[in-house]
């Protein structure tokens, strides 16, 4: 890892995401994976499209295509499924349902670009409050050919991704998750020979089912590598604490010993949720401290916020910042261990079934400076408020805990996964349900938006495509209404099967011209904000009353326009051929994959689009236009085949469609030319 951060710096979270987007032209994004408890549609859509996370914008077709090609994966807590109306298709939403009184609470953001891997692990969910408002904490890793310390963190993370989610594996969606793990493993193998030793370690909980393998045991083992005695001092920063009559502090004392000094930092507004018992067993001489974060931020913090927002005026802006960071510091005097991550100071987080993820680092020396910095960074007062606590908290009712479990009666958790796929031998779409209790599907009304689904033998009756929520945004969930409880509605997302994923471009591009325009101006999120431009950069102008609209209705003008566009497409694909010829690939298979992705898939889609357009029209002119367009495509493929050997047979793939029983003289001449020039037996 590049040691990108020291202690207690401030960072604007969206800058990390903007950095990746800004660098996209030079270093394209290949994979994106998010682990979160919950997320907001808009923030995820912005992240996927390389937009600023605070933007409130719509995804355009090019962005949807870009996202679909990248095939991102979002793993989140199943019970936090929302309608996701702004989310695109061909993005894997993988809900994790760990069972009662548990949740998927890990928060990690992984960006795999062609040259680097960036991983952010912290306390923040991909929500508006998590990104912009709360007091959150995170650790940022980057690995590349030049930066390869802490490679074990990446290796462990890859293992977690591959094996830790196997229990909730959805066969149709596993490929994207596993493909990411494969990529990470390949990168680790590449960087390992020159890797520098690192100090950081992943600390996770809830992923391994064997007894004793939890976050606390991992933390204890790390502490034992530092000291064989109890910590001299322990700092806990947490917004949430145990409710009930069992306490993490007791378990911690059992595991690592009772710290001589225990200091807790939390929001003043939550003081009623905290009591003496949260400090563990009472031991003579132990020093106990409580630092509270006032509800209102002070003038100094307002100034800092104004500065960090490029001088934004905060007049009249009510700024509310809830603590959401989770930090644990254990000090021996000569060393200290710092945990940063998703785990609250609760049994459920460290010993329970929650999936939690964090990073621990062991440093030499005294932690006093660090602790002072942390207290200042979260805006806590230095006064000790321990005396304000009761023995046990007086408010043990369920509150607003971020990992709170709410029981949903009749929640359809008997369904393992739902897959959307093309209708076999038909043109519609079908949902396939994977469950060990298929009969229970009949206990629910199931709807896809306003389309009611009839389910037989774990498959829905085909939905006509013109009624489908495809291919743009929204309609990412099925709604389940239990017959017995009509006022309850539960949402479950689905994934797309491989065949539908392969057909995605046919859904994205309404016409061959749309396809051409995409390949002439592909989505490459550059992170430019509204009104920003660099000299020489031309913004696409997407909305104008153009005087050329009427001219395009003329068939000659339209064909001329088509030819102009196609000439540009030819040039763009020639450039691609030059690029791939210059690139170095690890093996022939890698090169073949890239050829498939960059040439074969798009050009096959283009041929299908031409055919679809032809079928929608009729008459001899339509046939001539179709054959002419297909002929030009065949000629292009022929040229590409001479530049890239893997494409040598591509032109022949389109030969069957390049035929007509009674061509006119001119058409016959043209077809003869194409066949002689580009097609071979």
């Amino acid at each position: 890892m590049s040691a990108m951060t020291s202690h207690a710096e401030f960072g604007v979270l969206q800058q990390i995401f903007a950095d990746v987007a800004n660098d996209m032209r030079r270093d394209p994004l290949e994979h994106l994976l998010i682990l979160t408890y919950e997320f907001d549609d808009q923030q995820l859509a912005n992240l996927l499209a390389g937009r600023r996370l605070a933007d409130h914008v719509e995804l355009r077709r090019n962005q949807l295509k870009f996202i679909a090609d990248m095939h991102p994966v979002v793993i989140y807590d199943a019970r936090k499924t929302r309608e996701f109306n702004q989310l695109p298709h061909f993005l894997d939403l993988l809900p994790v349902n760990p069972g009662a009184y548990r949740c998927h609470h890990s928060k990690a953001y992984l960006f795999v670009t062609r040259a680097a891997v960036r991983l952010v692990i912290g306390s923040f969910n991909l929500t508006r409050t998590g990104l912009f408002e709360n007091r959150e904490v995170f650790v940022d890793f980057m690995w590349s050919d030049k930066e390869n310390a802490d490679l074990d963190v990446l290796r462990e993370f890859s293992g977690l991704l591959r094996d830790g989610y196997e229990r909730w594996a959805q066969p149709a969606a596993a490929s994207a998750r596993v493909a990411i793990a494969d990529t990470l493993d390949a990168r680790v193998a590449r960087w390992q020979p020159n890797a520098l030793p690192g100090k950081r370690t992943l600390v996770h909980s809830g992923y391994v089912s064997s007894a004793g393998q939890n976050g606390l045991s991992r933390l204890t083992a790390l502490w034992r590598s530092v000291s064989s005695t109890a910590p001299r001092k322990m700092l806990v920063v947490s917004p949430f604490f145990d409710r009930g009559d069992a306490w993490l502090a007791d378990e911690l004392a059992e595991a690592v010993g009772v710290p001589a000094e225990l200091q807790i930092v939390t929001d003043e507004a939550r003081i009623s949720k905290l009591g003496h018992r949260h400090y563990g067993p009472q031991v003579d001489g132990q020093i106990r401290k409580l630092n509270l974060i006032p509800a209102l931020i002070d003038g100094r913090e307002r100034e800092r916020i104004a500065r960090s927002n490029d001088g934004a005026r905060l007049d009249g802006l009510e700024i509310r910042r809830d603590l959401h960071a989770k930090i644990l510091v254990l000090c021996s005097g000569s060393h200290y261990l710092v945990y940063t991550g998703s785990a609250n100071f609760t049994l459920r987080a460290w010993l329970g079934g929650n999936q939690e993820l964090g990073v621990a680092v062991i440093e030499d020396g005294s932690a006093d400076t660090l602790i002072a910095q942390i207290i200042a960074a979260v805006g806590a007062t230095v006064d000790n408020a321990y005396a304000r606590l009761r023995d046990v908290p007086d408010d043990t009712e369920a509150g607003d805990e971020d990992d709170d479990y709410v029981e949903h009666i009749a929640y359809p958790d008997f369904i393992d996964s739902i897959v959307l796929e093309p209708e076999p031998n038909g043109t519609g779409l079908v949902f396939r349900f994977h469950t060990a209790e298929p009969v229970r599907l009949q206990e629910y009304d199931i709807a896809w938006g306003r389309v009611h689904l009839t389910v037989e033998e774990m498959r829905s009756i085909p939905v006509p495509r013109d009624q489908a929520y495809m291919p743009l945004q929204g309609g990412r969930n099925l709604e389940f209404t239990p017959h017995a409880l009509r006022d309850k509605k539960y949402l479950l997302p689905f994934v797309h099967d491989a065949e539908l994923t392969r057909q995605r471009d046919l859904l994205f591009f309404p016409s061959a011209e749309d396809w051409m325009r995409y390949y002439l101006q592909p989505a490459s999120p550059a992170g430019y904000g509204e009104g920003e431009s660099l000299p020489g950069m031309h913004e696409a102008n997407d909305e104008a009353d153009s005087p050329t609209d009427d001219r395009a209705a003329n068939v000659v003008v339209a064909m001329q326009r088509y030819l102009n566009l196609f000439a540009c497409v030819e040039a763009a694909f020639h450039d691609r051929a030059d690029e791939i010829a210059a690139e170095q690939f690890v093996d022939a298979a890698g090169r073949a994959r890239e050829c498939e992705k960059r040439f074969m898939e798009p050009l096959r889609v283009y041929a299908r689009l031409l055919e679809q357009e032809y079928k929608r029209t009729s008459g001899p002119v339509a046939e001539q236009v179709y054959l002419f367009r297909l002929g030009e495509l065949i000629l292009l493929c022929r040229t590409l085949g001479t530049m890239v050997p893997e494409l040598a047979d591509l032109a022949n793939e389109f030969a069957p469609g390049f035929a007509t029983p009674q061509p006119s003289t001119n058409l016959a001449t043209y077809m003869k030319f194409v066949k002689e020039r580009a097609l071979h037996d």
Binding site: E58, V137, L472, A526
Partner: protein, 417 residues
């Protein structure tokens, strides 16, 4: 370990444009103030931009060369750090603060090639001000080279303080360190809030004169700009706001038609957005929470149709896929809303985005706030006349026509504001 900083996220909804009104609006606004973007707030950036272009051109680096934006940012860093050292706010202030933190002196070498300051090259002086500078005539039309006027501005800006900023930037680019005290001194003289020199003001006056010669119809906006108190008074409430465009049309006869057109456009777009929002919420809530169309909608549509007829009778009208043209012929409320919804669907699909709803079926949830809409609806129903209702709607959906921005510029170059 890093802590997250609070992010101010206001003003983000401008990008949502369900009816494609932004483009005709921008075209109309450009007839008044073509020199501005929504981001070109502080005129001092133009001086810094011109100076950096000048310094880099002397080093044979122009936008035609690869890496210009990066080199520009390297030079801009010194000016940014000087602003921060002097306690001034400047674009990328946080990153400059980080660079400066804990240092008594800093050099370009200290910043390092991978520093965050280099990551968003479009976010800064070059990205925000090169196009406006070209519009003012400080750069050529392609924003590649300084014009003679731009060179004058660069020279004038460089010589504000005791220490030449040009010399400081050149030394900075050559790798010399600059102390915090030197940065503070530079910041005192050259920050975005520091007073311009008389030579700069003269360059600005000439830029304005050249602009007025190129676009004589708008010269009044610069030679006799709308007074701030008159403008402020008209922005107080809906009742006052309705007099804004007639007042401006009267004050600037050569722009009279444009201002009347702008006023009509603003009213039409406000009514269209209101009616569209209503149709959306009807679909969103399946009609349960939104009052049925009544006299208010009927009256608004009638007014909309009439304004569209008047608007289309003017030369130089701006439309969006013939929306206003079709509305001018709408028979009634039902027809008008059908036109608006059809237009929305075409517009959204045209840009490759999802329609909010189509064929009565909701596609995107939570685009508008039902409670806010209902309150506005009730407020409109409580008004005595259709004219008052139009005034309120227009006021609520008013747009930024750059009047405030222009005033800041006029004050900067010592004009009458």
């Amino acid at each position: 370990m890093k802590f997250s900083e609070y992010t101010v996220t206001g003003k983000q909804d401008q990008s949502i444009d369900p009816l494609g009104l932004t483009q005709p609006f921008s075209a109309l606004r450009n007839r008044l103030y073509a020199q501005f973007t929504v981001l070109s707030n502080a005129p001092a950036y133009h001086g810094a931009l011109a100076l950096i272009y000048h310094v880099l051109a002397a080093r044979k680096t122009t936008p035609e060369h690869d890496g210009f934006a990066r080199r520009f940012r390297e030079a801009e860093c010194l000016w940014g750090l000087a602003n921060v050292a002097a306690g001034q706010s400047v674009l990328n202030i946080t990153k400059y603060h980080t660079v400066l933190e804990g240092r008594d002196s800093v050099s370009l070498h200290d910043i390092g090639r991978g520093n965050a300051i280099y990551r968003s090259l479009a976010y800064g002086t070059l990205g925000h001000y090169s196009n406006p500078s070209a519009a003012w005539g400080f750069l050529d039309r392609r924003a590649v080279r300084l014009t003679p006027l731009g060179t004058r501005l660069a020279d004038a800006f460089a010589a504000r303080g005791r220490q030449s900023l040009r010399v400081a930037i050149e030394r900075w680019l050559d790798g010399h360190a600059v102390t915090r005290t030197e940065l503070e001194e530079l910041g005192e003289a050259y920050s975005i809030d520091s007073a311009p020199s008389s030579a700069e003001q003269l360059a600005w006056h000439d830029a304005v004169s050249a602009w007025c010669a190129r676009a004589p119809a708008t010269s009044g906006l610069w030679t006799d700009p709308p007074g701030s108190s008159e403008l402020r008074a008209r922005y107080v409430d809906a009742d006052q706001y309705r007099s804004l465009f007639p007042y401006l049309a009267d004050r600037y006869p050569r722009l009279g038609e444009t201002f009347l057109q702008a006023g009509r456009f603003e009213t039409m777009s406000a009514v269209c957005l209101f009616l569209f929002e209503r149709e959306y919420l009807l679909c969103h809530d399946a009609g349960t929470a939104i009052p049925a169309a009544g006299p208010l909608e009927t009256e608004l549509t009638a007014q909309l149709t009439q304004i569209a007829v008047d608007y289309l009778a003017q030369d130089g009208r701006q439309d969006t896929k013939k929306l206003f043209a079709e509305l001018a012929g709408a028979r009634d409320h039902t027809a008008a809303t059908a036109i608006i919804v059809r237009h929305h669907v075409a517009h959204q699909k045209g840009k490759g985005a999802l329609p909010y709803f189509e064929h009565g079926e909701l596609r995107v949830r939570d685009r508008f706030d039902r409670q806010r809409f209902t309150e506005l609806h009730m407020e409109l129903n409580g008004l005595a006349s259709a004219k008052d209702q139009l005034a309120l709607l227009t006021y609520r959906f008013r747009r930024d026509w750059h009047f405030d921005r222009a005033q800041r510029y006029v004050r900067y170059f010592g004009g009458k504001a």
